[in-house]
């Protein structure tokens, strides 16, 4: 079977690629486009490490074929910062030390950005449910949730104190 030719927009840039029919979007991002920020954890939609935003909805890129990306708009972890300026979620992950090994972090940051794009003032419970599809085996989640809620406050124009060093 011939490779599929796909034209899409990734992180605001038009991108064209060729892929095999069975290649997932995650395979294409990592192996064809060298966008290796999205991680493969479980490859079955359970861990969220491969989370990307597809036309406004967050999805697992491991559960989508590359060929399905034709004409769609995709945001990956590489498109979250604006140039050298970190997104508030990224900044707060650093300040709160909301990561240890870091493997789950790109997925969490993309998912948290998607949350805050939709809900500027999530409760802790809302944030925990929204992020339930992202697994972290290091942090115990608490620092992640603090970072996300603090990032939400920053994005609302408030000025939460940075956590004590």
């Amino acid at each position: 079977m011939a490779k599929q030719h796909v034209s899409t927009i990734i992180n605001g840039e038009p991108v064209e690629f060729l892929c095999e029919p069975q290649q997932t979007l995650l395979d294409v991002l990592r192996d064809e486009l060298n966008l290796t920020g999205s991680k493969e954890g479980c490859a079955s939609g359970d861990c969220g490490a491969c989370t990307v935003i597809l036309d406004g909805n967050m999805v697992c890129s491991c559960l989508m074929l590359g060929a399905e990306a034709e004409g769609r708009k995709i945001t990956t972890i590489e498109g979250i910062a604006e140039g050298d300026k970190l997104h508030p979620v990224q900044q707060k992950f650093l300040e709160h030390a909301a990561l240890q090994c870091g493997f789950c972090t790109p997925g969490f940051i993309v998912a948290a950005k998607a949350l805050l794009d939709e809900n500027k003032n999530p409760t802790e419970e809302e944030a925990r449910y929204w992020l339930a599809g992202n697994l972290c085996r290091c942090t115990g989640y608490d620092k992640i949730i603090r970072a996300v809620l603090d990032a939400a406050a920053v994005m609302r124009g408030e000025n939460p104190p940075s956590p004590a060093a």
């Binding site: 079977m1 939609g45 969220g48 967050m58 999805v59 559960l63 074929l65 998607a114 339930a132």
Partner: protein, 294 residues
């Protein structure tokens, strides 16, 4: 999968030709949240994947006369965000909302949840309870089938080669009619139903139940319509005696598996409890005492 091919037709007829014309297994693709997992594990080895999302009207919810029409590839998030549908059938939306994570909700469809044919599918009991109908397109033209006629056993459906569901039609509720869905899992999120129960009730002006449908999931090879439980409700208010007969009828309808997530005895008991609780919520909603979901 060395010989896999992918096609994304823009008409129903092209999709039928692609599905019917394949030598080997041909699979329609909506959200892919079951199909891709099964392909990776080797449980499914399709020769052709037919992405149905480029066909007009297969994504979205619309109102047509006395029904809501849900396109086959409509993702869960889109249904939950549809205000009129959420008000009309909060129980269906509750079931859909329980499927997987927010990431899965961004892709997974109700039709896929049905056609994956898991006994534990969370959206199915409330869809059956609401008398939802599947519109099926195939080489022989279009036909309609009640949702409960689609799944014939775990992983098995009554769809013939070349057929696929293009949409669901869900009748709009009558005055004082509403529904609810509850499931039991041993944790708070990201799990598969040990028992699920969808209930649809209609009340008269005095609060007596005039019509009901009670459907259990995850307690038999397919979803179970518990006629005896519905009969226990009809003509009654939700008094203790009615609830006891409902509970007993739900328990009698169970033929569950025995596994580490729930023994036969446990699943059976929980089916009765969920039937009681979901019925109470459906009654309250039907009586107008509780606003819609969310």
């Amino acid at each position: 999968m060395p010989n896999l091919s992918f096609t994304a037709p823009t008409t129903v007829d092209e999709a039928i030709r692609a599905l019917a014309g394949a030598q080997g297994l041909a699979k329609p693709l909506a959200g892919g949240t079951d199909l891709l997992v099964q392909m990776r594990s080797g449980r499914t080895r399709p020769e052709v994947i037919v992405d149905i999302k480029r066909i007009p009207d297969l994504i979205g919810v619309r109102e047509a006369g006395d029904s809501f029409v849900i396109g086959a590839a409509t993702p869960g998030v889109m249904l939950s965000e549809h205000e009129a549908f959420s008000r009309a059938w909060p129980g269906i939306v509750e079931g859909v909302d329980l499927i997987g994570s927010q990431q899965i909700q961004g892709r997974a469809s109700l039709v896929g949840n049905l056609c994956n044919a898991s006994p534990a599918a969370d959206s199915v009991p409330a869809m059956i309870a609401a008398h939802a109908v599947a519109v099926i397109a195939g080489p022989g033209g279009k036909r309609e089938a009640a949702v409960e006629a689609i799944v014939t056993g775990p992983g098995q459906t009554s769809l013939k080669k070349g057929e696929f569901i293009i949409e669901f039609r869900v009748p709009k509720p009558k005055p004082r009619q509403s529904d609810a869905y509850l499931r039991f899992i041993p944790r708070t999120e990201m799990d598969i139903a040990v028992v699920g129960c969808g209930v649809n009730v209609t009340l008269d002006g005095s609060g007596l139940c005039t019509d009901a449908r009670v459907v259990l999931g995850a307690v038999a090879p397919t979803q179970v319509i518990v006629t005896e439980a519905a009969e226990a409700l009809k003509g009654h208010r939700l008094d203790d005696d009615t609830l006891s007969r409902l509970d007993a009828a739900a328990q009698r309808a169970c033929k569950p598996i025995n596994d580490k997530r729930g023994t036969i005895e446990y699943r059976t008991k929980v089916a009765g409890v969920l039937a009681r609780r979901a019925t109470k919520i459906a009654f309250e909603r039907a009586a107008g005492r509780v606003a819609g979901v969310h």
